[in-house]
């Protein structure tokens, strides 16, 4: 059998998994990652839901997946050109390489919503308004502290930051933030004894495996408070605390709460790198800006261009379990395509 060359764009969860799968099926794979290190967004997560596995453990697994002689890893490079030439693809990297490939897998993932765009929540304006990713960094460092070094006692968690929000330009639900909020609320109470944690939500979307059970545990075992109302604005009080405003829609009255720290549950957006690749390669995107698969049911790994495939959260918000499954399915699609091609 002829050896096929496949290029995988993006060295996060999806890209690493698909590269490993393809290499074990006999393909020669070039994996291009824009950052100096592989791992993508998982690098920013200390612990993962549902079982609070260390993010590092997933990175280790993925790195073992790509530890294969048939995989060439190019880090610190983006794609600067992609063209189809005589049945194969020619890809230029920002480092000046030109790589020929029989198939391309796009695994450009997601970017976290830049929370400063929701100015009314005060990110980068007030001290102690942080994002879910910032909180993971604090967990990694081993302590949750305010900018003045004190330990916060009252913490507000704001759901749906940049998701389900026409004003942010994102109509879709990012799907992972609710369970992230519940996970982080529990963790806060573990880091800070007697911390009071309040989650402000529009709907609790607990659709994944073990999510609802964790939600229940947060109420029963950890005393996390859940208030049904979208936070309209955050302001700073004269004593340098933060004031949250919402409507407690179930009580039918406005509610305000003074807290020491606010954690914004930033949503997921199509990555900027993915948008560049889509423009370069003429790949269709949906109204949500993510890549639009050729078929929602039977072709979620297929693009509008023959030989170009999708893996992972560049097509829609996905958790790690779903991303790995989607990447494996992408590998199967690529192998089928290459067999037919010969």
């Amino acid at each position: 059998m002829m050896t096929n060359n496949v290029i995988v764009i993006g060295g996060g969860t999806a890209g690493m998994e698909v590269a490993g799968q393809l290499a074990r099926q006999g393909c020669r794979v070039t994996l291009v990652e824009k950052n100096p290190e592989t791992g993508g967004n998982v690098n920013n997560w200390h612990h993962l839901f549902p079982d609070r596995r260390a993010g590092k453990e997933v990175i280790q697994y993925l790195r073992s997946q790509i530890d294969h002689t048939a995989i060439t890893l190019i880090t610190g490079n983006t794609i600067s050109g992609l063209r189809h030439d005589n049945g194969s693809f020619l890809i230029n990297t920002s480092g000046g390489d030109t790589i020929a490939a029989d198939a391309v897998v796009v695994a450009t993932g997601f970017d976290l919503f830049r929370s400063e765009r929701k100015e009314e929540y005060g990110y980068h304006i007030y001290d102690n308004v942080i994002t879910s990713a910032d909180l993971e960094e604090m967990f990694r460092e081993g302590e949750v502290r305010l900018t003045n070094g004190n330990i916060p006692q009252t913490i507000g968690i704001v759901h749906c930051v940049g998701s389900r929000d026409e004003k942010a330009g994102n109509l879709y639900c990012s799907k992972l933030c609710c369970i992230t909020a519940v996970k982080q609320a529990i963790e806060i109470t573990e880091y800070i004894k007697d911390a009071r944690v309040y989650c402000f939500y529009m709907d609790m979307r607990m659709g994944g495996a073990m999510y609802e059970e964790i939600y229940r545990e947060a109420q029963e075992k950890y005393g996390v408070n859940f208030i049904r109302g979208k936070v309209s604005e955050v302001s700073e009080t004269i004593d340098h605390k933060l004031l949250l405003k919402a409507e407690d829609t179930l009580a039918g009255r406005p509610v305000k709460l003074k807290v020491d720290m606010i954690v914004l549950m930033a949503g997921m957006e199509m990555s900027e790198g993915g948008i560049e690749v889509s423009e370069m390669a003429g790949l269709n995107r949906g109204a949500n800006r993510f890549f639009a698969p050729a078929d929602n049911h039977f072709g979620s790994n297929l693009s509008n261009r023959k030989g170009i495939f999708y893996a992972g959260s560049c097509t829609a918000p996905m958790n790690i379990t779903e991303t790995i499954s989607h990447a494996r399915a992408a590998a199967a699609e690529v192998i089928d395509y290459l067999k037919e091609k010969i």
Binding site: E166, S232, A246
Partner: protein
């Protein structure tokens, strides 16, 4: 002297079979974004009128949709049309127009013009 016998109290149930949805239907015909509310309460949270009086645009909208119009009729005048609710609405509901249309519908209903 005590009265004996039964007293009739109106059932608390929202009776969707008999409630009058004509106001909601009128608003919806003229302002399709009326259908988009997800009850997040952001409008009521930011509302100055709602801070001091029992006025919640979120509540009034759902009451209209259920045909429970009386509370809306007596409370809708509290809105000062400042428009903050439309600035925060994540669904892009044209809140100001809904208030205007509701007022108009109530007025028309009084004059049997709806």
């Amino acid at each position: 002297m005590d009265k004996f016998g039964f007293t009739l109290s109106k059932a608390r149930v929202i009776d969707l079979d008999s409630n009058d949805r004509s106001i909601a239907e009128y608003i919806l015909r003229n302002e399709p974004s009326f259908s988009l509310c997800i009850e997040c309460g952001c409008c009521a949270s930011t509302c100055t009128a709602g801070t001091y009086t029992p006025f919640s645009l979120r509540e009034l909208q759902i009451l209209l949709k259920r045909g429970e119009n009386e509370k809306v009729r007596t409370n809708i005048g509290k809105c000062m049309l400042c428009g903050k609710c439309s600035l925060v609405c994540p669904r892009g509901v044209n809140t100001r127009n809904i208030i205007e249309l509701a007022k108009k519908a109530f007025k028309n209903q009084e004059t049997h013009a709806i």
